[in-house]
Amino acid sequence: MKLITAVVKPFKVDEVKEALKAAGVTGITVDEVRGFGRQGGHTETYRGAEYQIDFVPKVRLQIVLDDDRVDDIVSCITNAATTGKIGDGKIWVTEVDRVIRIRTGDEGADAV
């Protein structure tokens, strides 16, 4: 089992979600996050006082799935989330030891 974590631009989330549903993904977890990468922040000015805003808002998606679906789903996210501009985000894949469905106690692929 693998965990795919993707950090994407907030306005791309709906496109990514639709693409994942179309690809047969049955569940994703989403949170609003802030951070910085090469995109950098921006400045805001209030009555002449400048504030450097370093953290940029992003959305983080987490998807647990079977090993053989990983390549397929990574390219699905990449296609949906790309704008070609700096700040499109990152995807990383990590190993998952166990997955359990709470209601039934099913484990592994059956639990996803």
Binding site: E44, T45, Y46, R47, G48, E50, Y51, Q52
Partner: protein
């Protein structure tokens, strides 16, 4: 008794009352989210405390008897105010002036944001209203007052309200010191939509503040109304122009600040000027007040929400420009410099501004120091870091 005049003064009273909630939201949006209830509370609380004090003693100190400095106690507890009945009932005048008394100390809260202990604040504005505002209102608004007698003009309170509160704000800031983290931590406004809402309410209420000060439903009131609106409009444009050139952006906070600066500056002038004067006064106030923002940085005064730049400087601009643009063709019997009156009025305006500023600074500094040394005026640092909402009121504005 004139029913038309009375009706207009009663309506104006309601309009001015609404300015204090407007001010609360104007300031409330600019503070950090942990202090917004503290700010709203300080302003709304003035509507409670100052109204009661005004009825007991403030009104009679300002408007009783015939003394040039302070009044007597003939109207204490609002007794016998029917003696003031004329075109409007004495009681209408009491209510109208009460709303001025309420909002003036509330103006100070912008400078002292995020760090006043609530009970210390309550004592501060209570004493200030009786010891500073009521005498100054006497000098300026009562026909026996020495500034009124001197020939200086102040239609709706450029000196009595804005210079007075602006200088008092500085005095309190000097006593309590800067916010913890001032200059090292970012403290941007937490909710500019609240500030814009408050600005709209202030602008709306200011119609009553200035045009109501005619105390009649007449041509002077109409002139004051149009002047007030035009000065706000020109103030907004002036501020935005400078801001756009200096920083590259016209900001919503700049639009709000410029409009308020224009409103402050036209306040002393509203019923005494006409023609293009309100545009010049408002526009100049917008431009000068943006540059005045630099004063607090230069002096390291944490005038948190720019009461000095907007109210003190705006009040001075209006009070002095009235010495230039006062026009007997509009109202009154003194012409300013631009209408052939020479420097006489300008000199009187200068004396009035300096006198109010000096008195207000000295007495406010003493009151604030006395409170700070006895019961305490500034919150302990841990309460400041927690925020006023939780430390002073055991509440949160926004549940998470």
């Amino acid at each position: 008794m004139d029913t038309g005049d009375t009706a207009w003064v009663l309506i104006s009273t309601a309009l001015i009352l609404f300015m204090t909630p407007g001010l609360a939201f104007f300031y409330g949006g600019m503070v950090r989210s942990k202090n917004v209830l503290g700010m709203l509370m300080q302003n709304y609380f003035a509507m409670g405390l100052i109204s009661v004090l005004w009825a007991i003693a403030g009104f009679t100190i300002a408007f009783g008897g015939t003394g040039p400095i302070v009044g007597n106690f003939e109207f204490a507890w609002l007794s016998d105010v029917s003696a003031l009945d004329g075109a409007i009932p004495g009681m209408a005048f009491v209510g109208f002036q009460m709303m001025f008394a309420v909002i003036t100390p509330a103006l100070i809260t912008g400078a002292t944001a995020d760090r006043l202990e609530f009970s210390g604040y309550a004592v501060l504005i209570g004493l200030w209203s009786i010891l500073v505002y009521a005498p100054v209102a006497r000098w300026v608004f009562n026909s026996n007052g020495w500034i009124f007698e001197s020939g200086a003009l102040d239609f709706a309170g450029g000196a009595a309200i804005h210079i007075n509160a602006g200088v008092a704000a500085l005095a309190v800031v000097l006593v309590i010191g800067n916010r913890t983290g001032h200059g090292s931590e970012p403290m941007p406004p937490h909710n500019l939509p609240l500030t814009m809402l408050g600005t709209g309410i202030l602008w709306f209420g200011w119609i009553g503040f200035n045009a109501g000060s005619a105390l009649a439903a007449d041509g002077v009131a109409a002139q004051a109304l149009v002047n007030t609106h035009l000065a706000a409009a020109a103030g907004m444009l002036g501020w935005l122009l400078v801001e756009r050139i200096k920083t590259g952006h016209a900001t919503t906070l700049g639009a709000a600040s410029g409009a308020v600066a224009g409103l402050v500056a036209i306040t002393p002038c509203a019923g005494f000027v006409g023609g293009v004067a309100p545009l010049i006064i408002g526009g100049l106030a917008g431009v000068i007040c943006v540059f005045a923002l630099a004063i607090k940085a230069r002096m390291n005064w944490d005038d948190s929400l720019d009461v000095i730049a907007v109210h003190l400087v705006g009040g001075v601009v209006g009070t002095l420009l009235l010495g230039v643009f006062a026009d007997t063709a509009v109202n009154g019997d003194v012409d300013g410099l631009a209408f052939g009156g020479g420097f006489e009025l300008l000199k009187d305006q200068f004396v009035a501004a300096v006198s109010v500023a000096a008195f207000s600074f000295a007495v406010t500094f003493l009151i604030a120091t006395a409170i700070q040394r006895t019961m305490g005026l500034r919150v302990p640092v841990e309460d400041e870091l927690l925020g006023l909402d939780q430390s002073q009121h055991a509440e949160s504005a926004y549940s998470s």
